[in-house]
Symmetry: C2
Amino acid sequence: MALYVQKYGGTSVGTVEKIEAVAEKVKGFRDKGHDIVVVVSAMSGETNRLIGLAHEVMEQPTPREMDTLVSTGEQVTISLLCMALNKRGCPARSYTGGQVQILTDNAHMKARIQKIDDEKIHSDLKQGKVVVVAGFQGVDEDGNITTLGRGGSDTTGVALAAALNADECQIYTDVDGVYTTDPRIVAKAQRMEKVTFEEMLEMASLGSKVLQIRSVEFAGKYNVPLRVLSTFQDGPGTLITLEEESEMEKPVISGIAFSRDEAKITVLGVPDIPGVASRILGPVSAANIEVDMIVQNVAADKTTDFTFTVHRNDFNKVMKVVEQVSDDLGAREVTGDDSICKVSIVGVGMRSHAGVASKMFDTLAAESINIQMISTSEIKISVVVSEKYLELGVRALHTAFGLDSESTD
Amino acid sequence: MALYVQKYGGTSVGTVEKIEAVAEKVKGFRDKGHDIVVVVSAMSGETNRLIGLAHEVMEQPTPREMDTLVSTGEQVTISLLCMALNKRGCPARSYTGGQVQILTDNAHMKARIQKIDDEKIHSDLKQGKVVVVAGFQGVDEDGNITTLGRGGSDTTGVALAAALNADECQIYTDVDGVYTTDPRIVAKAQRMEKVTFEEMLEMASLGSKVLQIRSVEFAGKYNVPLRVLSTFQDGPGTLITLEEESEMEKPVISGIAFSRDEAKITVLGVPDIPGVASRILGPVSAANIEVDMIVQNVAADKTTDFTFTVHRNDFNKVMKVVEQVSDDLGAREVTGDDSICKVSIVGVGMRSHAGVASKMFDTLAAESINIQMISTSEIKISVVVSEKYLELGVRALHTAFGLDSESTD
């Protein structure tokens, strides 16, 4: 008999009917003798409705009051789910973040969990109850309601699993696992049986938006086995663990990630003196623009070219900032391109295999895809290419690295 | 400079625009130097929406979970009101029932307040903040969320005023005070400047639904001056206090209350033996039917007639119950009438004035209104008459007891 922490997201509890279906599912696990702690999000649409109300009042709502407001969304779900369980003769008890004492720091709207009081939960489980906890929210030491930021319900699930030493943290969502790449682009994409935390982090940050990055980091740190499953269809899902598969079985590359909404900015002919990077990026970051890849070419004739990428929404804003900086620096020219995308190959197997990068570049070259930027980490290689090559490039790499499923559908 | 606890009901905070108007009003009081604690209800319609969700899940929702669910309604309002105050440069801080520690017993959905921790509130007020507290909710000693039952926000207001020793508890609503009778029936009805708690209780229970009865009882018990005012127009409202006006100024009768939806049941020819009343009313109460007036005539020829009134909705149900009981008792006959109403005169002045009852009866007789039942208390005389005489009777009494306003509109 195991202890599972199961997290159901907003779409899984989006209507009363869906909440009933989740109750049915949870009761099934409990009837098999497992101890179940459920973490739920707000019903889909509810958080946005509440945020909308706040913005009707104030453009920049007071963070403390915002947390008090939006945390009601999950509170509604926990009570409805408990009722649905009770109706099925399954004893259940709901807890808000404050009631179960999910203690956080006081950084409203982006609080971090510091401690969880597991006493009530253990006592309820011992009495055969299902425990239902509101995701996304906590309480600081002064009793103020805090929230963990969007998607924080995953983090609540992992933190509870860690605190309770659960056998698995199961994230129920609307997909049946993590795929080698987006199945909408590559029909032969396969569900992965297992993936490591590190790989998952690279996948998540690159656009496979199945899990919140923070929850994966958290799970890796506390070695909580994390499983992504579908709420709506049965199946083993994808297990995210610390251990790497033995090399014999493991493909070198686990998956192909990509991100569409990128834009790049290049400052040409920058004087090659120390501090140039920070003089360019300082004002960008001061304007609250997040920078992704950064590449600086080796200097020739005492000038250098400096290129970085940002989210496409920030393109116009960042161009203005950089043009100003460029004048101050005496750079030659600023160019920009907002029709680029990023394609990455990810895999822990890369560590022990040479030639992965050249295989990637060869594959893209064979399709006549020009690589504009390259950036590498220990288990990932990313390239920036023109947006129009995205599908072609992802499919070519998926085939080249042996990820295509054998079935033809 | 005074300390006011101001309670704004659901219609006063029913939209973001109305919440802004309340913020404007509250800020006005604070700018005059007063300390303000605000108690708010859920936005109108929200509590019913939440109850609707619960009933979609379960016919008889689990009380603990129901409280967790519906308490979110007020939590939304407190945060939005604080934002609206903050936007106006007015520092404000919201508290749920759990955060301010409105400690109640654990009777979910009808909890009673036991203690209020006023430390945080006093500290906030000292710092010049407006304190905004969620009405209707509390927390039991195990940290479970409780609610005080419908209309409980008035009670929260009064309890806070008592705990904080406030100068006044102001109940803002959609009427501008308590009237001598319903202005829709008597055009010359007047707003009362003052009324005693006792009178207000008799008025409230008889249908002037301005204030929740429990909050008036509470205010009387702790001698909290209570004022009913309009959210939407300025004015002094009606002050509800312990003191009676000196007799010189005070009219004998303060107001005329009435209730339409009544029905009466008479058991004729009941054997006049001890225990008859309880044998008739026991099964009625067991069927969850609330009985209002009860009259038993003096016995003649060893039988008696027993009459009582109930809400009209319960009429058919109660007739069935009583017919059964009547057979068991060997009573002669059961008759019923569901087209009656109750008219009452209320006034503490009655205590020191003889002849009030006969003046009432004379007034009704002069209009040829037949009195079917009479019931009296120290400060109230109620009569049951045919429903068709309601308006005529109320108007005649309003004039006879000198309550008509002098203006002719």
